[in-house]
């Protein structure tokens, strides 16, 4: 059961990563927004928070992988 739970979580992680990748790819493919539109983009504080959250999640994953490798 625990293995199934882990496989389920890994599948969810892969799908979420695919969503992020698609969103970022779509965003990069769009033409440069006009200045008025740029003002609606994420504020710098939110961008920093987003980056911090990404770094935290990656750190958590690293820790988990290291623990798993050590058994």
């Amino acid at each position: 059961m625990e293995l199934d739970e882990a496989s389920l979580a890994i599948g969810r992680i892969e799908r979420a990563l695919s969503r992020m990748e698609k969103a970022l790819t779509d965003r990069a493919a769009r033409p440069a927004p006009a200045p008025a539109v740029t003002a609606t983009a994420l504020p710098p504080a939110d961008q920093s928070a987003l980056k911090a959250e990404v770094a935290a999640v990656i750190g958590e994953l690293d820790r988990l992988i290291a623990e798993a490798e050590r058994g």
């Binding site: 882990a6 979580a9 890994i10 969810r12 992680i13 969503r19 992020m20 987003l50 999640v57 988990l64």
Partner: protein, 162 residues
Amino acid sequence: MADVKLTIAGRPYDVHCADGQEAQLIQLAGIVDAKARGIQGGTEVRQLLFAALMLADETQEAQSKAGNAEPQLDSLRAAIALAESRESTARDELRAAVSRESAALDQVKQAAEREAALSAELDKLRQGAPVVPVPVGPDHGRALGQIADRIEELAAKVEQIP
């Protein structure tokens, strides 16, 4: 003692001096002789008198110049001491700055290495590589679930970025 024969204003003199000082004595006699010969006319005694007066005048002038130079020498010594002190301070500051720069560079290198490792990890995840290549324990399964929650939240935020 050494015996030395001198000739001043055309007259020979036999004098004695300490061993090793003959050359010095001959050189000094040469100076007196040149002064005496430069004075034309008069008796030999008068020539020697004027030579002695001229040498005394030159001696006095040299002493006066040395006395005037003394304060300047003090100022120069003070300036040299100040310059040496400033150079020492500047060297210390430079050494400290190099040390700080080196430490900052090390931090940048470490940060770059961490970033590269994280980036490689993220690439592995994107390529669908197994996240945990070894059997997963109960706690790990729960932790993976929590991480999946956070990544899904992140994906939602990324999708909402205009």
